[in-house]
Symmetry: C2
Subunit: 199 residues, 2 copies
């Protein structure tokens, strides 16, 4: 049996997007990263640029989103971020139901955790490697590179914690964690394909 | 270039010892796990059974061991655990200097972190897999299996935290983290060998 759905969680500046894309190419599967934005825009009516900016951000509403189920009877205004998360959640569930695919980010590992046909991967790297990668790929935006890395890590970790009550990057949430700076992107792709095909 | 030293950190009941042993066999390298006990016994004069029992335990001395360097002038009695750690630390440093090898546990990833020829691997698995593995491999010892797993995790995490001031199982301490229950022991061995040879 092969893993039907591969989810890729990735630190910023580790090449996780490209690794996911190449895994999808090698396995002949549809690939969803920013492609999800279009789907979310269609479904939610939100503007694509708003989604792109906020798809991995949380609201400032205190308490976890999942608490809403528990306290369903009490009034809690739903933020735009939460509406965005719900739309995204439903789209990811529908995609997984419909087809085999590769999905990057957006808590997909958590959203699909009740399925037994997923392979969840975490891509990370040392900060030196990430700094070099970010400057080469996205250029210098005037902000200190250490701060760019830290801000993105904090945003993604908060988003993941907020909606899943789990820790982003805890190996127990994934079946495979790869340091792309050490292993190399190409070899990461190979390993993910091997493990996906071995299931 | 190949990685000269492979360190394997492993949760109890994940087959990490056997995986390390097979990696060593495939690469034709010496393998050190309980083999270190004999070396430590020779060097320290401690009894082998005492070492086996306590080699991954910490003393109750408050404050981290590494503080001793900072507060070198103040008196702090050194516990047997710390003496054991120092002996172990020196043996691991000497081994790495002398030969290419595979080392299981004992903070080897941290002890050798200044080297650039190591591959650090973390082997983990879901608790259901571990429970089955432990009962099949070590048998039932009358203690609840959940407690056996929790106790071992706590001991290893405390030991690692005490001597390294880092979190055991944090992917950033390793270059490769593999869920052996999902991936399978044989495939884990393959992946480690591929990554080690790819460097």
């Amino acid at each position: 049996m092969s893993a039907r759905i591969i989810t890729i969680s990735r630190q910023f500046g580790t090449g996780g997007h490209t690794i996911g894309q190449k895994v999808a190419e090698k396995l002949g599967l549809p690939f969803y990263d920013s492609e999800l934005v279009t789907k979310i825009a269609e479904k939610s009516g939100f503007d694509a640029s708003f989604i792109k900016e906020n798809a991995e951000r949380t609201s400032s509403v205190s308490g976890f989103f999942y608490d809403m189920g528990i306290h369903g009877s009490s009034y809690m205004p739903m933020s735009l971020y939460d509406q965005l998360y719900i739309t995204q959640h439903n789209i990811i569930r529908e995609l997984a139901e419909k087809e085999s695919c590769v999905i990057v980010g957006r808590c997909a590992d958590y959203i699909l955790e009740d399925r037994n046909d997923t392979l969840n991967v975490f891509i990370y790297a040392d900060n030196d490697y990430r700094a070099k990668y970010i400057l080469e790929t996205y250029g210098d935006n005037g902000k200190k590179i250490e701060k760019r890395i830290k801000d993105k890590d904090n945003t993604r970790a908060s988003y993941y914690r907020h909606y899943t009550n789990r820790e982003w990057g805890d190996p127990l949430n994934y079946q495979l964690c790869l340091n792309s700076g050490y292993i190399g992107a190409e070899k990461c792709v190979d390993i993910i394909v091997q493990v996906a095909q071995g299931k």
